[in-house]
């Protein structure tokens, strides 16, 4: 089977998962204990307002009809609106989503770029000081909660040294045209060097902290995976053919060791999506993590609903991308 048809098959397989997610997200509002409408109005005893909101949310109609109209709205790009901000949810998302995505992307890149070489290096230097040293550091990183790391980083780099800003995505003076929503890219498009530096200064600390736990875990897992591969017969078989050690390590062993690592990375991404709620709040990063906390606090259920949907879809997309990545690394996947 070719790669193209494999991708199509995986996309088709995603449809039920996406539908399942929408059902769960839709039911969210019904699963809230008590009367959601009353909670949203928070004590305003005006019966007219109550009925109005209930009708607007469609809660007076049969469940199936509600779901179908929810889906129809979604298809039109209508996710309802925020009572708290008095804005359509999509508008809030349009601001928060790129902010979260940019931060997560960068954190993922940091994690992959640092953890894999570190794990491979530790495996190759097995049982030396360098191996033990790097594994102890990663154990420490893993054990320390990321919000504490975040606060310490702010105190040190923003407070003591004053090198990096403590919060936000950009300084108030920066004004650039948004194209991708990623400030580090939009600054380049705008040709604004100051804005570019500013964006990097803001994103660096939260991204590193967000990546920290995952990097630590992933480095350890990469090391273990690499050691496992190095024990395999085919490594001996390759050496017995006269293939030089360097080639055996970097061409054969690393590629095989990466197969399970790809799964670890997906799992780490899932962890990051929960981590981001904390990190965004620590750094006042104007993304979905901050938004979800505000929305829960102000009982803005439609916004919460939409955010959960977006988080779930992000997760699904990453699983999909992982499977595609797999089929590149491991030929056994495409043919089973």
């Amino acid at each position: 089977m070719g790669l193209g048809s494999y991708i199509i098959r995986r996309l088709l397989q995603m449809i039920p998962a996406v539908l399942g997610v929408t059902v769960i997200v839709f039911l969210l509002i019904h699963l809230i204990p008590g009367d959601p409408v009353a909670m949203m109005l928070a004590g305003e005893a005006d019966p007219q307002a109550y009925d109005e909101l209930r009708t607007r949310l469609g809660l007076d109609r049969p469940l199936l009809e509600q779901y179908l109209s929810y889906m129809a709205n979604l298809a039109r790009g209508d996710m309802g609106s925020s009572l708290h901000y008095g804005l359509p949810t999509t508008e809030l998302l349009a601001r928060a989503f790129p902010a979260t995505l940019e931060l997560t992307f960068l954190a993922m890149i940091i994690m992959v770029v640092f953890s894999i070489p570190l794990g491979v290096f530790a495996a190759m230097k097995r049982d030396t000081m360098a191996d033990h040293g790097s594994m102890i550091v990663s154990m420490l990183m893993y054990s320390v909660p990321s919000f504490w790391l975040g606060i310490m980083a702010i105190l040190f780099f923003a407070g003591v040294l004053g090198w990096l800003p403590a919060f936000g995505r950009a300084s108030p003076t920066i004004d650039i045209q948004l194209v991708t929503g990623f400030l580090t890219i939009d600054a380049i498009i705008a040709g604004n060097f100051a804005a570019w530096v500013d964006a990097w200064k803001h994103i660096l600390m939260p991204a590193v902290i967000l990546a920290a736990t995952g990097t630590a875990v992933n480095a350890r897992l990469t090391r273990a995976s690499m050691l496992e591969v190095l024990r395999q017969d085919y490594i001996k078989a390759l050496l017995s053919k006269g293939v030089p050690m360097r080639t055996v390590l970097f061409k054969h062993a690393v590629r095989n060791a990466l197969i399970p690592v790809v799964t670890f990375i997906t799992i780490q991404f899932g962890q990051m999506l929960s981590g981001i709620v904390i990190i965004e709040n620590v750094f006042s990063w104007p993304g979905m993590g901050t938004l979800v906390v505000t929305a829960v606090g102000s009982r803005d259920f439609q916004v919460v609903q939409s955010l959960v949907l977006v988080f779930a879809l992000m997760r699904l997309s990453v699983n999909f991308l992982t499977d595609i990545a797999y089929s590149f690394i491991d030929p056994r996947i495409r043919y089973d």
Partner: protein
């Protein structure tokens, strides 16, 4: 034929482990002549694989090993050699096939690219030329539609086919010594016979010497000219096949042969001998077979000598030494 190819002298391979020093191979000496087919038999865990890996200098992959003694291959001692020198020997002059064909091919590269890798290293073949040679080699080991199989990944082939591919790879540069570590144990009986026949023919055609490691006396009886019997890290007896079957001297060999008729009925596994193989950690001095030996004597608590009791017939047992009885 009489020229010697490899001479192993007092080879010792030891592993440092948490539980103690494992003397997996403990002072073995033998030689293989050019084109000679030699069988190495012994019970599970007696150090056969470690011997094979030591000859290829592949044990260092384990990080915790030490190798002593001499491995003189074509006049050069392999023991002190560095990887850079060894890669001229491995695959080119001496190669190896492994027990489990399911795990001895890299799963993420095609069969062809794995054969071509060796061709590139040792013969400088590249591109189309190299692929053509890989296809020829696969055909040589009787793989049908080898032009297609060359682009297959290991998981697309059966165990027997993979083992053929391994053989093609091992023989690609026409080595002078092929070490086969139980290459048929993982395969079913009819495939076993085909593989043995194939290796036998190929080795006869090219004059490749063979060290065939197995549990199975039946296989070596048919395939090999000389048999070495190993027990708990040491050699106990070595003789040409006829002599060993007609006049086994060591009580261990005798026990193996007494139980050998069971081979015909069973699946060809080594039949059980009462007692168990001793632990290779902190081995007490003396003959290692002593506590299972029906002919054990007082003197057996000392180390028996490895000596040639008649021309070409070596044994390590006090029954045959001058100071022993009988």
């Amino acid at each position: 034929m009489a020229e010697k190819l490899i001479k192993v002298e007092d080879l010792k391979t030891q592993f440092t482990t948490k539980r103690g020093l494992v003397k997996a191979v403990d002072g073995i000496s033998f030689e293989i002549k050019k084109g000679e087919r030699v069988g190495l038999v012994g019970e599970s865990g007696c150090g056969k694989s470690v011997t094979a890996l030591s000859l290829m200098k592949l044990v260092p992959a384990a990080h915790n090993e030490r190798v002593f003694g001499k491995i003189i291959f074509k006049g050069q001692d392999l023991v002190p050699m560095k990887d850079s020198q060894l890669k001229e020997i491995r695959g080119k002059q001496m190669s190896m096939i492994f027990q489990d064909p399911m795990t001895s091919l890299d799963p993420v590269f095609t069969i062809g690219s794995q054969i071509m890798e060796a061709l590139g290293i040792h013969q400088g073949l590249k591109g189309k030329e190299s692929k053509k040679r890989a296809i020829e080699l696969l055909a040589l080991v009787n793989i049908p539609s080898s032009e297609m199989v060359v682009d297959y990944y290991p998981h697309q082939l059966s165990g027997g086919m993979r083992q053929r591919a391994m053989i093609a790879m091992a023989l690609s540069c026409e080595p002078e010594l092929l070490i086969a570590d139980e290459p048929t144990t993982a395969l079913d009986v009819s495939i076993q016979a085909q593989i043995i026949k194939l290796v036998r023919e190929l080795s006869a055609n090219k004059g490749t010497a063979l060290l065939w490691i197995t549990h199975d006396l039946g296989i070596v009886a048919h395939l090999c000219e000389k048999i070495i019997v190993m027990y708990a890290g040491k050699l106990v007896e070595m003789a040409d096949t006829m002599t060993l079957f007609e006049n086994p001297m060591h009580p261990y060999t005798q026990a193996l042969l007494r139980l050998a008729p069971k081979l015909e009925r069973g699946k060809g596994r080594m039949p059980p001998i009462p007692g168990t193989v001793p632990n290779l950690i902190d081995m007490p001095p003396g003959c290692r077979f002593a506590d299972r030996c029906p002919k054990c004597m007082d003197v057996c608590s000392q180390e028996p000598q490895w000596m040639e009791v008649e021309p070409g017939h070596w044994v390590s047992c006090f029954l045959y030494s001058k100071d022993g009885k009988n």
